[in-house]
C-alpha cells in the first residue's frame, strides 16, 4: 500500500542546507493502522506532508496504492490527493458558515465529473460518523468533536486509499478525543488504512504499530502488542451537547 524508500528532504535557505529527512524507509500494508510519533523537529510534519502528497521528497521513492508519487507535477499531485488521500487536521479546517453536508461534498467538486449522488453520499458518510441529524448545521453550531467528525466524513467521502490524520485529537477535550479515536478504531476494523501523526504516546498506542522518528530518521518501528481499546461506544452525537446547546436544535 505505502512504500517509502530512502526518502530525503533538504531545505535550502541561502547558503545553509537543512536536512530534515535523512533517509527514511518503511512499508505500510493495506488495512494497517499506524501512528507516526516524534518530537517537534524530528521531521514528523515533513514526512506527513510527503505522505499526503502536499510536498515531494528531495530524493527517494514514495509509492501509494501502486502509484509513484515522488515525481508527479502539481496538477497530478492535486488529482492524487483528491482521489487517494483523506486528510484529517488538528484544526478541522471546515468552511465556516457552510453546512456540514456542503463541507463533506467539497472534495467531490474538484473533479471533472461531479457524482450525481454526491449529496446522498455525503449524507451517508455523515450518518456513518454519527452526524446524520446534523447535515444542515454549520461548524459554528457544532461542538469540537462534532466538527472533527464532519472533517472525517469529508475525508471518507472519496473512499481514499489512505486516511491521514494530523493530531486529530489535539484540539479536543478528552471525551471528544476518545470518540474520535473510537471512530478511527471502527474505520480500522472496516479495513481502512490509517496513518495517524501525533506526539502523544497515549494516542499513538491506539494504533497497531508505532513508527517513531528522531532527528530525521526512523528511531523505532514496532508493533503495539496490545493496542489501547478505544472502548468509548460508537458516538451517538445527538446526545452530546454542543457548546451552544445545539443538541436541542436537531
Amino acid at each position: 500500500m505505502i512504500d517509502v524508500d530512502n526518502i530525503k528532504k533538504h531545505y535550502v535557505k541561502g547558503s545553509v542546507t537543512t536536512e530534515v529527512l535523512k533517509g527514511i524507509s518503511f512499508h505500510i500494508a493495506a488495512g494497517e493502522y499506524v501512528a507516526i510519533m516524534g518530537a517537534s523537529g524530528s521531521g514528523k510534519s515533513t514526512l506527513m506532508n510527503i505522505l499526503g502528497a502536499l510536498d515531494t521528497p528531495t530524493s527517494g521513492g514514495y509509492r501509494l496504492d501502486g502509484q509513484e508519487v515522488s515525481k508527479l507535477d502539481d496538477d497530478a499531485l492535486s488529482a492524487l490527493r483528491n482521489r487517494k488521500i483523506g486528510f484529517v487536521f488538528q484544526q478541522f479546517h471546515l468552511l465556516e458558515r457552510t453546512s456540514a453536508l456542503a463541507n463533506v461534498v467539497l472534495p467531490l467538486i474538484y473533479r471533472d465529473e461531479l457524482a450525481t449522488d454526491a449529496e446522498a453520499r455525503a449524507a451517508a458518510v455523515l450518518d456513518a460518523v454519527g452526524l446524520g441529524q446534523r447535515q444542515h448545521h454549520s461548524p459554528g453550531e457544532l461542538s469540537g468533536g462534532q466538527q472533527q467528525r464532519v472533517a472525517i466524513a469529508r475525508a471518507l467521502i472519496t473512499d481514499p486509499a489512505l486516511l491521514l490524520a494530523d493530531e486529530p485529537t489535539g484540539n479536543l477535550d478528552a471525551k471528544s478525543g476518545a470518540e474520535v479515536l473510537a471512530l478511527f478504531a471502527k474505520l480500522h476494523n472496516e479495513g481502512r488504512t490509517i496513518v495517524l501523526v501525533t506526539h502523544d504516546k497515549v494516542v499513538a498506542e491506539h494504533a497497531g504499530r508505532i513508527i517513531t522518528l528522531a532527528d530525521g530518521g526512523v528511531a523505532d518501528d514496532r508493533a503495539v502488542s496490545h493496542p489501547r481499546d478505544a472502548t468509548a461506544p460508537t458516538p451517538n452525537t445527538d446526545a452530546v451537547a454542543g457548546p451552544s446547546g445545539t443538541a436541542t436544535s436537531a
Binding site: D74, F89, L95, A102, Y110, D112
Partner: protein
C-alpha cells in the same frame, strides 16, 4: 452542477455570501464608477441629441451651393441668370461627395401668374428634387411632395405654399384640382405646412414647388440652377465637407489656381458647430473621469482581494489539500471578482440611470435609455474584474498548502 467551472462559480458565490461586508466593500467602487459612467453617457448622449435636434430644426446641417461668385449673392435681383451650376453638378455632388445624406437641385423664377377658376396670384415657382422637403424641413401637411416618379416623368404637379393655397382655394379642397401656372396646367399634389413668421420664412407661404425636371424642361426651359442644397451627415465635419464640395465643383468647372469660384458654398453658422464640439469635448472628459473612477473601483477590488487572500490562507490550503489545482483556485477567485464586478455594475447602472432620470426632471437633457451605456458598463466591469482580479487570484493559487494549513485565520 455537473460542470467543474460551474461548481467553482458556486464556490465563489458561497465565499462571497459568507463574507457579505467584504463583498459589499469590494462592490462599492464599481457601483460608483459604473453609476457615474452610466449617468454621464445618458446625459452626454442626451445633450448631443438635443443639439442635433436644434440643428435639424434650424437646418444647420445644410450646405447651400449658389450660382455666381460670392459678391453677386447680395445683388438685388434674385434671378440673376448666372448659368454656372448645372443639374449634372447636383448629380455629381450627390454621387461623389462624402458625408452627405441627400442632395437637391433648386431653380426658381419669380412672377408666374397662377390661376384657379376666377382667382389668381403671382408666385415664385421653385423646381426641386424629392429630397428638398426633408433637407429644408418644409413638410407637406396635406397630399404629398414631389416623388422620384414625378421627376422621371417631368409630371405637371405642384405643391402649394400655405398662403398660395388659401388665396386660390379658400377653405375648399385644393388636392387634385387643376391650376394653371404660366399657362401650363398643373395638378395640385400637396400643400405645405404654414411656415408663418419662423426664421427665414419670408415669402415661403406664397411659393409653389414643382418637380425640377418639369421646371427645367417645361416651364423655365433652362438647364442651369440657382442652388444645390446638401444635407450633411456628420455636422462636426461641416467645414471639411464644404471644402470638398468646393474642390469638386472647381474641378468640374475647370477653375484652376487663383481664379475665383463661379459659385459660392454657404455654410451654416459656426456657433452651433462649436457648441456641438464643446459638448463632445466635455462628454469625452466626463467619460474619462468615469473611466478613472472604474479604475479606482478595480484597484479597490484588487486590494480587498489581496487582503482576503492573506485572510483566507487556510481555506486556500484546505481546498488545495482536497484536490483543487492551482487553476481551480485562480478560477474561483476570478469568479469572485467577476461576480462582485458584475453585481456592482448592475447596481451602478441602476443608480446611474436613476440619477439621469432625476436630472432630466430638473431639465438636463438625458437620452432615452439605450443599450449602449449598459453594454459599455458590462464590458468595463468584465475588463476591470479580469485585469484587477487576476493578480490576487494568481497569488492565491501560489499559496503553499503546507504553509497555509499551518496558519491561523478564518477559513
Amino acid at each position: 452542477m455537473a460542470n467543474r467551472n460551474g461548481r467553482l462559480l458556486r464556490e465563489a458565490l458561497g465565499a462571497l455570501s459568507r463574507n457579505k461586508s467584504r463583498t459589499f466593500l469590494m462592490m462599492l467602487g464599481i457601483v460608483l464608477g459604473i453609476g457615474s459612467l452610466t449617468a454621464v453617457l445618458c446625459i452626454g448622449q442626451g445633450t448631443r441629441d438635443r443639439i442635433m435636434k436644434v440643428i435639424a430644426v434650424h437646418g444647420l446641417d445644410m450646405l447651400m451651393v449658389r450660382a455666381g461668385a460670392e459678391k453677386q449673392i447680395f445683388a438685388p435681383t434674385a434671378d440673376r441668370g448666372i448659368a454656372s451650376l448645372s443639374e449634372a453638378d447636383a448629380s455629381a455632388v450627390e454621387a461623389e461627395l462624402g458625408n452627405v445624406v441627400a442632395v437637391s437641385p433648386v431653380q426658381n423664377q419669380r412672377g408666374f401668374e397662377t390661376i384657379f377658376q376666377d382667382r389668381s396670384i403671382k408666385v415664385r415657382v421653385f423646381g426641386v428634387g424629392p429630397a428638398w422637403s426633408d433637407i429644408r424641413r418644409r413638410p407637406v401637411v396635406r397630399g404629398e411632395f414631389v416623388s422620384h416618379d414625378d421627376m422621371a416623368h417631368a409630371s405637371k404637379v405642384a405643391i402649394l405654399g400655405f398662403h398660395s393655397a388659401k388665396t386660390l382655394f379658400g377653405e375648399a379642397e385644393a388636392l387634385g384640382q387643376t391650376i394653371r401656372i404660366g399657362n401650363e396646367p398643373f395638378t395640385v399634389k400637396g400643400v405645405f405646412a404654414e411656415a408663418g413668421a419662423s426664421a427665414g420664412a419670408e415669402d415661403f407661404d406664397d411659393r409653389v414647388m414643382i418637380p425640377f425636371t418639369t421646371s427645367a424642361r417645361r416651364l423655365f426651359k433652362r438647364p442651369y440652377l440657382e442652388q444645390i442644397v446638401i444635407q450633411v451627415k456628420d455636422v462636426s465635419r461641416m467645414k471639411q465637407t464644404a471644402d470638398a464640395a468646393r474642390a469638386l465643383l472647381r474641378e468640374r468647372h475647370q477653375i484652376r489656381g487663383d481664379a475665383a469660384d463661379d459659385f459660392f458654398v454657404r455654410e451654416p453658422g459656426d456657433v452651433k458647430e462649436a457648441a456641438l464640439s464643446t459638448s463632445t469635448t466635455l462628454n469625452t472628459l466626463l467619460i474619462a473621469i468615469s473611466m478613472i473612477a472604474m479604475l479606482v473601483g478595480g484597484v479597490v477590488i484588487m486590494n480587498i482581494m489581496l487582503v482576503s487572500v492573506g485572510q483566507r490562507m487556510r481555506e486556500i490550503g484546505l481546498r488545495r489539500a482536497l484536490g483543487a489545482r492551482r487553476r481551480d483556485i485562480v478560477a474561483q477567485f476570478l469568479f469572485e471578482a467577476l461576480t462582485v464586478s458584475g453585481l456592482g455594475g448592475l447596481v451602478g447602472v441602476a443608480l446611474g440611470a436613476a440619477v439621469a432620470i432625476g436630472l432630466s426632471a430638473k431639465g438636463v437633457a438625458v437620452s432615452r435609455l439605450t443599450w449602449l451605456p449598459f453594454a459599455i458598463a458590462v464590458g468595463a466591469c468584465a475588463a476591470v474584474a479580469i485585469v484587477f482580479g487576476l493578480y490576487p487570484a494568481r497569488k492565491a493559487s501560489r499559496v503553499d498548502p503546507v504553509v497555509a494549513l499551518r496558519q491561523g485565520g478564518a477559513s
